[in-house]
């Protein structure tokens, strides 16, 4: 769907050239929910904006559906943008226009439908986002979550194949965030739409994305399937972003009793996550564990578990036995201490 090759963006500033993006290569498959995460200033917004060329890259290429769009302009560029929906952190709705007029705007801009067809399409997308009964209200009369739903309806009006989300939930409270994220997942499933979203919050990635790229200082420092990255983060930025939502181990070791105890991190997924692995091993090996930290749940529909456990000085042979037993159960095991 989208291929980014050697993408770079530099700005001229009074202090000299500022490189917002360096040598970025990404591939986003059709139907994917692709999350780009980074701290503020990492360049994620710039990267997202190069996808519909609101920002022109200074180097490299952007391919959409195999077509190199890096240098198109004029009417072709406008047509491309009409096929790409965008939702914004601050919704960016027209306050002078009713909800239905806001949603109609992209249809008027594209100018392909008759007024009656536009009205039908407006009702359709408002239904989809659950705002059919608010069509005649004005954005100022709606809550933040409802306004973002209008934003989503507007972005979907022209039946795009790609939806870009620019910190779409950052201005919303946690509960509303969840409902908007659920809506995005529904849309992705129902319409088969490719979604690219940027965020600074790993919770958003966990809730909706199936691929993730971590951006720092304008470079992709890590990328891959969400499950892989979450369970085995390699770069320190990824680890610290995960730490913010309680999914990392370093802190857990510090909470362990000092001394000669061993600390292990166990990672398992799929059916293993559902079977009583730990209690069986404990019973069979006669070793007792303390769980220092853990997270068990589902990521993108697939069960996973990651536990950091501490055990009281087992003798070496029993410890080795235990490691073998874990490996036999399809549990990845890292000895942290």
């Amino acid at each position: 769907m989208i291929r980014i090759e050697g993408l770079g963006k530099a700005y001229r500033t009074p202090q000299g050239e500022f490189h917002a993006l360096h040598d970025i290569d990404l591939e986003i498959a059709r139907g994917d929910v692709f999350g780009i995460i980074g701290r503020s200033g990492a360049g994620k917004s710039t990267l997202l904006r190069t996808l519909n060329l609101l920002e022109r890259p200074t180097l490299g290429h952007v391919y959409i559906d195999g077509e190199d769009v890096t240098h198109i302009d004029g009417e072709r560029l406008r047509r491309l943008r009409q096929r790409i929906g965008v939702i914004f952190q601050h919704f960016n709705l027209l306050h002078s226009r009713s909800v239905s007029e806001n949603v109609r705007l992209p249809l008027r801009i594209a100018g392909e439908l008759s007024t009656a067809e536009q009205t039908r399409r407006v009702n359709e997308v408002l239904e989809l986002v659950g705002l059919a009964d608010q069509a005649r209200k004005f954005p100022g009369q709606l809550s933040g979550g409802q306004q973002q739903r209008v934003g989503i309806a507007r972005a979907l009006a022209n039946k795009p194949t790609l939806l870009l989300c620019d910190e779409a939930t950052s201005a919303l409270d946690p509960q509303t965030t969840q409902s908007i994220l659920r809506l995005l997942v529904d849309i992705n499933r129902q319409l088969g739409l490719t979604i690219v979203l940027i965020t600074h919050d790993m919770n958003v990635i966990r809730a909706v994305a199936n691929h993730v790229a971590i951006l720092e200082h304008g470079r992709v420092v890590e990328s891959g399937k969400v499950l892989d990255v979450f369970l085995n983060p390699r770069h320190e930025t990824t680890q610290s972003l995960l730490a913010e939502i309680g999914l990392e181990t370093e802190g857990a070791i510090a909470t362990a009793r000092s001394g000669s105890s061993r600390i292990l991190r166990l990672t398992y997924r799929g059916v293993t996550a559902l079977s009583p692995v730990l209690s069986r091993l404990s019973r069979e090996s006669g070793v007792d564990f303390a769980i220092l930290q853990g997270s068990v749940g589902r990521l993108q529909g697939s069960p996973y578990g990651q536990l950091t456990i501490e055990m009281e000085e087992p003798d070496d042979s029993r410890f080795q036995q235990l490691l073998v037993a874990l490996a036999n159960q399809d549990v990845r095991c890292e000895v942290l201490r």
Partner: protein
């Protein structure tokens, strides 16, 4: 009440310039109304062009941006020149222009060109500033939707500023009432003309006072109507 001192009511009845006041009021309304119409027709596009070519809104293409910078510089300079000349001076300076456009420099017709030329730049600046107040996110959304500049202006920018625009029209209309009275000095017609001829040249204080009173009422009415419209149209 002492019969020797006439009451205010007696004075009003004895005041025999009501027909002149009536005609002059009508003239003022026509001058102001017609000038306002042309001010909007001229000033609104001028304001929009000023906004679209102002720094921060220019094309990423260097050559286009350069043309925009030149356009902005020239229009901005013109606007500033017209706004810096005191209206009374502008009135006199524009006499040849007025004669060329209207065929006369006197009366209601003679006042309209200088009024429009004097106030349209002011209105244009108001429009430019209003457009600057529009949330940049809305412009960004329009670009992202693939809108042309024309679509952005007519479907997003102007609707978003409509309440503000009505406020600007109100302010401009009131300024026009004041300016139209000033054009009485060079024989412009209307209430100002009446005040100059009777009040100033013939020392008829009563006419002067009534003229001022009518102007006060007109201004109040315009402001009232303007405020009502703004309130009705504001959805924020």
């Amino acid at each position: 009440m002492d019969a020797a001192t006439p009451s205010l009511w007696d004075a009003v009845i004895a005041f025999d310039y009501w027909p002149e006041i009536g005609t002059a009021t009508l003239d003022t309304l026509i001058m102001t109304g017609v000038s306002l119409l042309f001010t909007i027709l001229l000033g609104l596009p001028l304001g929009v062009v000023l906004f679209l070519t102002s720094p921060g809104h220019r094309s990423p293409q260097r050559q286009v941006a350069r043309m925009q910078a030149i356009t902005y510089g020239m229009l901005s300079f013109l606007v500033n020149v017209l706004r810096s000349a005191p209206f009374l001076i502008l009135l006199i300076l524009l006499i040849p222009v007025t004669r060329w456009i209207m065929g006369t420099t006197l009366g209601v017709e003679g006042s309209i060109p200088p009024l429009v030329i004097g106030i349209a730049p002011f209105f244009a600046r108001l429009v430019e500033n209003l457009l600057r107040e529009v949330d940049r996110g809305v412009l960004e959304a329009c670009r992202a939707m693939g809108a042309t500049t024309r679509q952005t202006v007519f479907w997003a920018l102007l609707p978003e500023t409509l309440p503000g625009l009505l406020g600007a029209v109100t302010v401009t209309a009131i300024a026009l009432i004041g300016y139209s009275a000033m054009s009485g000095v060079i024989g412009g017609g209307g209430l100002g003309d009446l005040a100059v001829r009777y009040g100033y040249q013939r020392f008829n204080t009563a006419v002067m006072l009534v003229t001022v009173a009518v102007l006060v009422v007109l201004v109040q009415l315009v402001q009232l109507i303007g405020d009502r419209l703004v309130r009705r149209l504001n959805h924020r």
